[in-house]
Symmetry: C2
Subunit: 410 residues, 2 copies
DNA sequence: CTACTTTTGTGGACGGATCGAACATATACT
DNA sequence: AGTATATGTTCGATCCGTCCACAAAAGTAG
């Protein structure tokens, strides 16, 4: 054993004892099987670098806690005694809620990243916090009986299109919903009777990509997602999501780029998200307006001069912004999602060339620019991760419900 | 004990055993006394949240390792048995080298942040890597006998004005020294026969401020230093210095600001460090050119219209850049050093007002903007920290020299 | 000056955690 | 069928921090 549990922090932390060791190892095993679902016990042993005996004991404890189970070994073309497969118990789940301008999406995600359910509730106008909660409670009630019978819901993860204070889930400002200082997480928590955690939608999507998408195994990652309105950002720094002091960090869409002239809803001139913008792209097209998900085919086949010029303008601005993020973060990968991913897919060489031209050369030489891979489950998995975190950190310390008991009696 | 050793990483790490616990606790105690030198044993007990007995054993081990010693209690107006003071052994030291355009500075820094020696060797022109090493070796030889007799040098920390690959200390690009892809750390290591670590000068200065200066206790910190030429940046993210994939992160001086027109040495237009620039400030003055350290008094007393206009222009640009960094990092504090600190000191209200005006309001509302406090020992302490890190992480695992044996025989 | 209170150092017993070795088991290969 | 290999299982050894009882050293009150 040469494991180093020492954090990378320069500052002194606090001491630790045997129970801390146990917690750490239990957490390590549960997290490992959660992020790589079908995995043999021997593989767990190799990954954790723990002793066979120890892993045996840890898995046994996780099974007793109802967090994992073992299945008979798969057929394998390998000598030696087969090792049972350790699975996380996907019935242990998190509710996921993503209120947005056009719709409220609700999901149920189990350990292992299994999306049990996903409901998209279309909205005719942007919801108030009250309405968002009502819709959420209705949707949960709709799946209520099954929820109580079959799943053990440990918490709620919210993905919010705006600034979210991570300490308590206050929505400090969500411009497109027009919410200001709404204690949304607190109200959701009360309405559903579950511990609730909230994050910015793009940051949460970055976590999804990092765990299950194009960002697997990448420790230093810059993620940009082009939504219908606005651009969201998420950053992974040394394997840790960047949150900042209050949780407001990685607002990459609200960095001023050099060629800005339009006023952003945040009050400033020339924000990235005002200059690089799906709606402006759509306005540049002649013909019927396209959907965000149809952009790929349109961009690759179009001969619309106006659209092509606007796309190129936006790519130039985007490249400049990316170059700045590269100077700031020195990432291994820059991941583009949403309509930014469509731009990258349609003009891959142009995007890369412009980024390299706009960069301080030595910084950009090893950066990979790629398209994000996840589509609809995008915010789901990452926000579920928010709700799973306490359990993953201390599997034996979190009281696990036998079943979801429904909202508290009124 | 409710210590959580779990890292904040979402990804699964590796397991840990009893030896890991011991290492962690030994590290915790040594780091604690290193960063808060005079500290009683009972205070260590409180801080680490370990048991009295355990701290006793740990301190004993550190003393046996020659890393700490205890002194009789100070007089205290407090009841109860007095607790001995635990000190880090400041004879355990790191050599620090900071090659720059005008001078090469060498220092000897002991545990506890004690600056034993500091030599500034003026240079008539920017040094080549070869010359920098020769000067360094000469200076070390100059203090050689005493070094061997009185100190136990465990390593070398380099502060470099440029891009440094943290993996191996390669100086990828140092524009003002005109070094490109120089394996400087490796050569220094061979020349002095000591393990050598290198970092960017501003990032290292950020570490100094964070441990001993205006950034004490701040976990999320953006630091900007205005050098004679250029602007360096350093960022603390959740208590961990931002390094990026290769160590090139936090090049905040090389982010493009919106009003740029001059070409930067990095090849781009409108970099922060070309727009906000000490030399341009000096050119705007009538009269004799001032030194970087005289700027404070000049700025506060001047009535020079050209200088005031230029200062205001630079503050406007700086504020815009800071606003972007706030959007990206959501820091608790923004620290300004060098001539940027002088600007802040001379025009505190203007700086703050412009930053707040340029920011996405909710993000800036809690940010403190302050001047950095450390002057000459600035890069020294932080680069020493680089060299101390292995020891602080694993106090029992690093072979400690009885004395510095001098450069290897030629 | 003395007895009391408070705080801290010290040493041994204890429980908990991982490890390593020996043994058992299950598979592939020959 | 026998052998080699890989892994699960069991149990004792080892290490670590904690807890407890006691000693030590200071201030405080009378």
């Amino acid at each position: 054993m040469s494991a180093s549990r020492a954090s990378r922090s320069l500052r002194a932390g606090i001491g630790s004892g045997n129970d801390g060791t146990r917690r750490h190892n239990l957490s390590t095993v549960l997290t490992t099987i959660h992020h790589h679902d079908p995995m043999s016990r021997s593989e767990v042993t190799r990954r954790t670098q723990l002793n066979r005996s120890t892993v045996g004991a840890l898995v046994t404890e996780l099974v007793e806690l109802g967090l994992a189970y073992e299945t008979p070994p798969e057929e394998q073309a390998q000598r030696g005694r087969p090792s049972p497969i350790v699975h996380p118990n996907s019935k242990v789940s998190a509710l996921v809620v993503n209120p947005d301008v056009e719709a409220l999406t609700l999901g149920l995600v189990g350990l292992g990243g299994v999306v049990h359910k996903r409901v998209r509730h279309a909205l005719d106008r942007k919801p108030s916090p009250r309405e968002a909660i009502d819709v959420t409670v209705d949707l949960v009630k709709g799946m209520g009986e099954e929820l109580e019978r079959d799943y053990r819901v440990i918490g709620v993860g919210l993905a919010i299109p705006g600034l979210v204070r991570n300490r308590d889930g206050l929505v400090r400002r969500a411009p497109y919903l027009d919410w200001t200082s709404e204690p949304f997480a607190e109200h959701v928590s009360r309405a559903l009777g579950l511990p609730t955690f909230a994050g910015n939608d793009a940051s949460v999507a970055m976590i999804s990509e990092s765990l299950y998408g194009a960002g697997r195994g990448v420790s230093n990652l810059v993620y940009l997602n082009g939504f219908l309105v606005g651009i969201g950002g998420g950053v992974m720094v040394a394997g840790v999501p960047l949150v900042g002091e209050d949780g407001y960090a990685a607002e990459l869409g609200h960095t001023v780029v050099s060629e800005g002239s339009l006023r952003c809803h945040c009050g400033r001139l020339g924000c990235l998200e005002t200059e690089v913008n799906f709606l402006r792209l759509r306005e540049a097209m002649s013909g019927d307006p396209v959907d965000l998900y149809d952009l790929d085919s349109v961009l690759t086949t179009t001969t619309d001069r106006g659209l092509l010029l606007e796309a190129e303008r936006q790519i130039n601005v985007l490249a400049e912004a990316i170059a700045n993020f590269i100077s700031v973060f020195n990432p291994e990968v820059v991941l583009l999602g949403g309509f930014l991913g469509s731009l990258e897919a349609a003009f891959p060489d142009l995007v890369r060339r412009k980024v390299y031209e706009s960069s301080f050369a030595p910084l950009a030489e090893n950066v990979r620019i790629e398209r994000a891979t996840l589509r609809t489950p995008l915010p789901l998995l990452g926000s579920a991760e928010l709700a799973f975190t306490p359990l993953l950190r201390d599997p034996a310390g979190v009281a696990l419900p036998l079943a979801y008991g429904g909202p508290p009696a009124a």
